[in-house]
Structures are given as C-alpha cells and as structure tokens.
C-alpha cells in the first residue's frame, strides 16, 4: 500500500470516528442536555451565552445548546434517511433501466429528464407544499427530487458494465440474469454511487434545514436546526447567538460529511478496478455539487 493510500485510509477512519461521535451525541442527546430544550421561560429570554446556557437562550428563553443537541437527531438522521432512500430507489430504477433498456428505460429516463429539468429545491418546495408541512413530508419531498440523479448515474454505470467482458463471461458461464445483476453489476456500480451519496449528505442536511426554515419541515415542538434559524432570524440584531450556533452546527456537520464523502472516494477510488469514479467526479462537477 502506498503512503498516499495509507494516509487516505487513516483520514477516513478519523472522519468516520467523528461521524460516529456525532451519531452517539445525537442518540444520547436527551441525556446530555444541560437544560430542558422545550421549557419556555420568558424571564430568561435572549440570555447571552454564559455558564448556565452555554450558547445562550432564544426568544422564549429556551436553551440554544440543548436545542441544538436535540435537533441534531432530526437534522442528521432524517438527512441520512433521505440519502439512503434516494440511493436505493435510484439504484433500483437506474440498474433495471440500464440493464434491460427498452420501453421501461425510455419511460423512466424521460421522467428523470423532467425531474432534472427543474431546480431541485423548487421542486422539493412544490412537493412539500402539496403534501403539507411536517418532517415526514419534507423527507418525501427530498427523496422525490433526489432519486433521478442516482437513477441517471446508476444507469450510466450499468450501461458500461453491461458490455464488460466479465459480465459477458458470467452469462456464458450460465449465470442467471438476477445473479449477474446482484453479484456483478450492482456491486460494481455501487461503489461510485456510495461516494456520490456520502458527498450529498451535507447538501441534504442543508436542504432539509432549508425546508424547515421555510416552515415546511419539522413542526414545533420538534426541534430542527433549520427551524431554529428560522425562529431566530427576527432577533438576529439583539441576540445573534440564536442563529449563530445552529448555523455553526449545520456548517460543521456539512463540512464533516463532505470531508467524509471525499475520503470515502479516496479510499474506494478503484484505480485498481475501474475509472468510473473520475466519471462521477466529472458528472458532479458539470452539474455543480451538491444536489440541492
């Protein structure tokens, strides 16, 4: 293993550890909070950061720090859910379209064209608006706008893989179509797709926060970073910490997941297998990272 590769591996381990730490923090949040994140106390409103309230209090006297901790769960886990679901849906559709082609391919790809023709966020807004407010609907909206990109990517990988000699050989060995799809096509296409997915976690957190900020995501009393920003924006002049800290939390998380995505790519980059990753990079570059 070269030094570069070893370094990349260590970087990935460290970033994964940080992400895991973040995950544990989310899970343990209700036990870690110094104050009740939902308790309204108007006497304590707009307190600057101090000993009792590390990040200060918001307009209703709720502890910003506690709310960030509790909100992390919603923000991060729903973003992971969005990415996971889009990945699965996109992969299935893209793989089937790419491998079998024909009418199904045409229908789905034209649908993908339509979806990709709209700015993602506008479409998500429209879907969330139609479905009504709520975190679940926000997730559905983001999934609905996110899958076409994965479907398109998966399809293009499958198209090249389908013509590979080893797929041909697997057919010549008498392996069934499903076995080929599951054992050869999908695993080969999945690595670049996982990289794309991990790179888009950050963007999804932002998208979700955006929807919440506009009031289409998590509803009170549920706490979400985006809605914290939204609630606090009126008080930006008097109590900037109300928006600063949730913003910082979003910033750190997005950066962490983006670095993680980069790192996953470096480690998985199969110079030894395929040069497909360069294609992902180029595609993402052309489309402007990230999705939303």
């Amino acid at each position: 293993m070269t030094r570069d590769k070893r370094f990349a591996r260590w970087r990935l381990i460290i970033l994964l550890a940080l992400a895991a730490l973040l995950g544990i923090l989310c899970l343990l949040a209700p036990r870690l909070v110094p104050n009740d994140p939902y308790k309204v106390d108007l006497l304590q409103a707009k307190q600057p950061p101090g000993a009792q309230f590390p990040f200060g209090t918001d307009g209703f006297g709720r502890c910003v720090f506690s709310r960030i901790l509790v909100g992390a769960r919603v923000s991060i886990f729903s973003a992971l859910a969005v990415v996971g679901i889009t990945l699965v849906i996109g992969c299935v559709i893209g793989t089937l379209c790419g491998y079998f082609g024909g009418a199904v391919d045409t229908v789905f790809m034209r649908l993908v064209d339509i979806f990709l023709a709209f700015p993602g966020m506008v479409l998500a807004l429209a879907v969330a608006g139609m479905l009504g407010t709520g975190l679940g609907n926000a997730v559905i909206a983001l999934v609905a706008t996110g899958w076409p990109q994965y479907a398109r990517l998966a399809r293009s990988f499958v198209l090249t893989l389908r013509e590979e000699n080893f797929v041909y050989a697997a057919r010549l060995n008498g392996q069934s179509t499903w076995s080929i799809l599951l054992r050869h096509i999908l695993p080969n296409a999945l690595r670049p797709l996982i990289v794309t997915a991990s790179l888009s976690i950050g963007g999804t957190i932002l998208g979700l926060s955006g929807l919440s900020f506009l009031g289409l995501g998590a509803q009170p009393p549920a706490v979400e970073w985006g809605s914290m920003l939204s609630d606090g924006r009126g008080l930006m002049q008097q109590a900037p910490w109300i928006v600063f800290y949730p913003g910082l939390a979003i910033f750190i998380t997005v950066v962490l997941f983006n670095l993680l995505g980069d790192s996953v790519r470096d480690v998985l980059d199969p110079a030894d297998a395929f040069h497909i990753f360069r294609k992902v990079k180029a595609l993402r570059h052309r489309k402007g990272i990230p999705t939303l």
Binding site: A169, L172, N173, P187
Partner: protein, 321 residues
C-alpha cells in the same frame, strides 16, 4: 443431418441488422476431444463465429444456417436450455487475460458462483475443485490465488485462472478467442501446452480462434482458414500446413517469419469489404486469379480426405503442388 458430432455448424450466415454481412456459409464440425483452430486476419469474422455459436447475438443477426450442439439446434432451443448449456456444455476464454473476471470479487468467490449456477455445491467443495483445476494449469500457491482479486495477478496467471474458470463446469467444448495473443511468447507456449493437457485430461474439445500460425501448428488437429467471412480451406493440420491449397493459405504460410533470415512476404493488397459480392472472397488479392474466377462462384473442392478448399483456380491451376 449428416455429421452428428459435438458441435456442428451448418451453412451459417451472419449479418448485422443493417444488412452488413459478416459470415457466409460457414460449416464446421467438431468431434469430442478434437482441437480445431480457426485462423484468419483481423476482421475476417473469427470472433463473430464464436459469438454466433454461443448464441450471444448482441448486435449480430443469424440469417441462415444451423448450429447444433450434440444434435440439438441452438437457434430453436428455449433460452433457459441455452443458459444451462453455457458453462456446462460450452466454455469461453477471451483474448484479454482476466477480462472474464469481475474486478471487485475475489477469484474464489467467482469460482463458487460459476459452479453454483448449475448445481448445488458447498463452498468447500467448490474451492477444492478450483484448487485442483488451478494446479493442473501449473499455478502455484493456488490458495492464495483464490483469495486474491484479479488485479493482483500477472497476465499469464490471469489467463490461466480464466481458463480454469471456463473449465470449472467441465464443458464439453472450450471456445477460445485468441487466448494467447495478449501474452508474451514464453507464456503463450505454456498456455498452449496447458490447453492441450486439458484436452488430454478431460477430453474437452477446443475451438481456438487465432491469427498465430505457431499456435495452429502446435495444437490443432484440424485447421479452418477464414478469409472475408468464409472458410476458404479446411482440413487436418498436416494436410493444410504441408500442402496448402488455397492461395490465401499459401500467402499466410509465406508471411511467417523464418529463423533463417528470409524476410516474410506480405500479402499484397488490402481487404476490400466487397468480398461478399464477389464469387471468391480472395479475388482481389489472389496471384493465381483466372479470368474465370470473376464469373464462376468459388466452389468447395475436395482435395484429400476431409481436406477441401474454396478455390476454383488454385485447384485447377495445380497450385496444390
């Protein structure tokens, strides 16, 4: 039909959907344990012939003729039957070493999958058989190879593993598309030896496509010389090599570099792609062409036993000296 051998190709004509023709009236009979080499230049339709036999049409289109495997017509056999025949009946080795292997799966897993696609088998049993096969192909360290990825092997190793993979189900016939072309000369010779040993050990028939006369002279029982989508000469190796009847075969023999330093002779001219419209595919480049060749369709002319050639002039003009 006459000639029920292991694999019988009768009057096969293959084209592209747009009407372009690739193979014309190919007939070939392979018996069990026989090694048949198909030799010809690039683009003469050698690989297409293999693809047609394997019923992997892709973009090609069989317009006429039959391919019989053990007397069963592959063109009319249900797809599931064809799938079952692949691997157990016919195996395939590619030119590019390792092209038949999935780059991200360990070699052992690929053996296991291939074997399991046809019969229930335990992993341990599959690994045992795989090791045995690899050892027969002169590979050392078979256990380590089964635990490696294709990229971790050298070209020669990969080609051996590919052959072993194709042999995993003990097919009756192994189709090899230029199996040695991408390897260096010493490895080429070893692979040829090993392929012949497989035939001796398992009775596997081989259909080897090549443009290497050395390979033909070492391993072939019978030789089919192809030019412009047709077989222009066919017969036992000894007959074809010592008494080439077709002008193209003779030109090919003259084009082999010789150790005594006489420079090899190039075949004049280039392929015109019009061969299909000509009565004889080699017409444009043939030094023996008669005026009659332009009008009379080249016929199969028997020479001696199974040896025949597709040449009116060569035979009439006494070129088969």
């Amino acid at each position: 039909m006459e000639h029920i051998g292991l694999l019988d190709v009768h009057h096969l004509t293959v084209g592209y959907p747009d009407g372009g023709r690739v193979l014309q009236d190919i007939s070939l009979h392979i018996h069990e344990g026989e090694i048949v080499c198909v030799i010809g230049e690039s683009g003469c339709g050698k690989s297409t012939l293999l693809n047609a036999i394997l019923q992997m049409p892709g973009r090609l289109h069989i317009t006429e003729g039959e391919i019989l495997f053990r007397g069963r017509n592959l063109r009319t056999l249900p797809r599931e039957e064809v799938r079952r025949l692949r691997g157990t009946g016919m195996g395939m080795v590619f030119q590019e070493p390792g092209a038949s292997m999935d780059p991200i799966r360990k070699i052992g897993a690929q053996f296991y999958e291939t074997m399991r696609a046809h019969a229930p088998i335990s992993r341990r049993e599959a690994m045992g058989q795989a090791e045995d096969l690899l050892a027969r192909l002169d590979l050392q360290d078979t256990r380590r190879i089964l635990g490696s990825y294709p990229v971790e092997l050298s070209g020669g190793q990969k080609q051996r593993v590919a052959i072993a993979l194709a042999m995993a189900l003990r097919p009756d016939i192994l189709l090899a598309d230029e199996p040695t072309s991408a390897l260096d000369v010493t490895v080429q010779a070893q692979i040829v030896e090993e392929l012949m040993r497989l035939r001796d050990d398992f009775g596997t028939a081989l259909l080897v496509v090549t443009h290497n006369m050395g390979v033909v002279s070492r391993m072939a029982d019978k030789v089919a010389v192809m030019y412009g989508g047709r077989i222009v000469e066919y017969g036992y190796r000894h007959d074809v090599m010592t008494a080439p009847a077709h002008p193209y075969t003779r030109a090919l023999m003259d084009a082999i570099p010789r150790p005594d330093g006489t420079p090899p002779k190039a075949i004049p001219g280039v392929r015109t792609k019009k061969e299909f419209d000509y009565p004889c595919p080699f017409l444009d480049r043939c030094p023996y062409a008669h005026p009659a060749c332009r009008t009379e369709k080249a016929e199969k002319i028997p020479i001696h036993g199974e040896h025949w050639t597709l040449c009116n002039a060569g035979f009439k003009g006494g070129a088969a000296s």
